[in-house]
């Protein structure tokens, strides 16, 4: 019980410090973080949300679903079109005017995010009926197909989405507070969900469908819950993304986006919320940091010309490496705990010691 109290206060202190840091950064009081870095941090938080969405379905419920890009697209477009001012929309839709009812509609950011998430969830409900009867690879193919269908629809509904030209000049309402606030909310929601009876049922389905059904768990209903919640989270993440990047086109939501998120989930550990959060930050930041790879560089006599996309090759290799040698990812299905952290720190000197010891042995 004593440990519990300590952990509680540690958590409160860390979260307060973190919140203070986010607020100070937002107000510009932290001078060493420039607007570019703030942009990256926003993306980190958004990828955390998207990673959680995918981990819920893939990691916790064991459904191999790759439809995230489609749900994000729905959330992104709904949010974007709801927060833009009517006159801005008129300018953006210059080829064909926007539907009058949609053009006049404007609402606060939080409501727009909620609407985006809700519409994603509704769409998930309807496609869930046919799709959730499938298993394994078939489910992956069907959901991937769904995401592509959404993209193609958005490319062709000129008066609703402005087609391939996309939507520009989306108000940059989503700042650090929004992104980190919602990410924190989603982490909290996931923690509560996983430790609720429904969360346990999801994990039971993942571990053994036949046994779960024999335990009286309605498979279809619970898969549907998981799928809908995941779509809602992805929709909200998409909405934040729209506001952060300020311009969206349907091609932003290609199916490769699902792989980016999948990399986060797999690297962090399927079924670990901690893993998803850590991996989202690591991968999003690394993706920016590795930009120099694309611009051409030279290592001694070796000169690599400018190859756009080279950094993505690194990530593909990384993904293959994880799948082959380190399938459980950073955290496996474990979660962060203070106890675990302290034990790790305590063990650290010995671990490092062992590393040297082994080296010596091999040298001898």
């Amino acid at each position: 019980m004593k440990g519990n109290k300590r952990d509680f206060w540690l958590t409160v202190i860390v979260l307060t410090l973190f919140a203070a840091l986010v607020i100070l950064t937002q107000t510009g009081a932290v001078a060493f973080i420039d607007s570019y870095q703030i942009h990256i941090l926003n993306l980190c938080a958004i990828y955390t949300i998207l990673g959680l969405s995918m981990n819920l379905v893939n990691g916790f419920t064991g459904l191999f679903s790759l439809g995230q890009a489609g749900f994000m697209a729905i959330g992104a477009y709904v949010t974007a079109l709801l927060i833009m001012a009517p006159d801005v929309k008129e300018q953006v839709f210059y080829v064909e005017p926007i539907e009058p009812w949609l053009g006049a509609l404007q609402c606060p950011f939080w409501l727009a995010l909620l609407a985006g998430g809700m519409l994603s969830a509704v769409v998930a409900f309807f496609i869930g009926f046919p799709v959730l009867r499938l298993r394994g690879d078939y489910l992956a193919i069907a959901t991937l197909g769904f995401a592509e269908i959404i993209r193609i629809i958005f490319l062709n509904t000129q008066t609703l989405t402005n087609g391939s030209m996309g939507v520009k000049s989306i108000p940059p309402t989503a700042n650090l507070l929004w992104c980190f606030g919602i990410a924190a909310l989603m982490v909290l929601f996931m923690l509560r969900l996983i430790h609720s009876s429904y969360g346990r049922a999801f994990k039971a389905i993942r571990d053994d469908e036949i046994a779960a059904e024999a335990m009286g768990i309605n498979l279809f209903k619970h898969k549907m819950y998981s799928f809908i919640l995941s779509a809602f989270i992805a929709g909200v993440g998409g909405g934040l993304m729209a506001s952060v990047v300020s311009a969206i086109t349907p091609n932003l939501f290609r199916f490769t986006l699902a792989y980016d998120i999948l990399l986060i989930v797999v690297l962090g550990g399927m079924g670990s919320i901690t893993g998803t959060v850590v991996a989202a930050f690591v991968i999003t930041a690394a993706k920016e940091w590795l930009r120099w790879l694309d611009e051409g560089f030279s290592i001694g006599p070796l000169t690599v010309p400018e190859i756009p996309g080279l950094r993505m090759v690194i990530f593909s290799v990384l993904l293959m490496g994880i799948i082959l040698f380190y399938r459980q990812g950073f955290f496996g299905s474990k979660e962060f705990s203070w106890h675990g952290l302290f034990a790790f720190v305590r063990e650290l000197p010995r671990r490092i010691g062992r590393l040297f010891h082994r080296d010596k042995k091999e040298a001898a």
């Binding site: 509560r192 609720s196 335990m215 009286g216």
Partner: protein, 266 residues
């Protein structure tokens, strides 16, 4: 018989041209222990799967009487889904243990109670249903205590010795509050000592939870020891029914097991 909890009428299961179970008429009374025996491939597990809703019988019907009251009427459960049947009060274990492998003993038992959750997803996640959650946890702990699993409560279920995994699977089935327990080869892979323990264990829980038990088993000592009636299947046909003593002296049963006379088969 007004006291029947489970009854199958002419239950038949065909897979293409193969008749796995043919015209199976089973009756399990309240608080009775009934066993289904038979050589490998006799259709015992198929019969189980027909009853528990994994398969829908090609022909025939399955009736189950839910609840514990004497006035309860049998319900036709033919073709209902497995989870719906479990919610009516029929729980089962599996021939090859099917525990939730990534979870602890405690969590496995908690999942067994999910079917009784009244709270919706929302109130469950927000903590509005904390009373229900607390009651579930309490009940899981009580069950663990009662079934002698307390010392391994927080261990990963796969780290348990084989015999205890079997016991845990039964515990998990009990967590669903069944009136009828179906055990698919509960003593499979157990040594004689463990089998004796299991026999006592099944008797105990039968009394404690006021259960009816239907089981498939190969260990004859276990079957003869605790079952009140036995059904013998061979090639999908019911070749004999009766008390253990009757079955032991039945010539057709001896033939089926020892395979003395090949002409006896059609």
């Amino acid at each position: 018989m007004g006291n029947t909890i489970l009854r199958t009428e002419h239950a038949t299961m065909r897979f293409g041209g193969v008749t796995a179970v043919n015209d199976f008429n089973l009756e399990v009374g309240r608080n009775e222990i009934v066993a289904i025996i038979g050589p490998n491939g006799a259709g015992k597990t198929t019969a189980f799967n027909l009853i528990t809703g994994v398969y829908t019988p090609t022909e025939g019907k399955v009736f189950f009487t839910p609840g514990r009251s004497d006035e309860a009427k049998p319900v036709d459960i033919t073709g209902r889904k497995a989870d719906a049947i479990t919610r009516m009060g029929m729980a089962r274990t599996f021939q090859n243990i099917r525990l939730f492998k990534t979870q602890t003993v405690y969590e496995n038992i908690l999942i067994g109670q999910h079917l009784h959750v009244k709270a919706g997803l929302f109130s469950s996640v927000t903590g509005l249903a904390y009373k229900e959650e607390r009651a579930m946890r309490k009940k899981a702990d009580d069950l663990i205590e009662l079934l002698g699993l307390a010392h391994v409560r927080d261990e990963l279920c796969t780290s348990l010795p084989y015999g205890q995994q079997r016991r845990l699977e039964i515990a998990r089935a009990l967590a669903t509050d069944p009136t009828l327990l179906l055990l698919d080869e509960p003593a499979a892979g157990m040594n004689p000592q463990e089998t004796v323990e299991l026999t006592g264990f099944i008797r105990e829980i039968k009394e404690q939870f006021a259960l009816s038990v239907l089981m498939i088993e190969h260990h004859m000592d276990l079957v003869m020891d605790i079952s009140e009636r036995i059904y013998v299947l061979d090639f999908g046909q019911t070749i004999a029914t009766g008390t253990p003593a009757e079955i032991q002296n039945d010539s057709r049963v001896i033939e089926a097991y020892l395979g003395v006379d090949t002409d006896a088969e059609d």
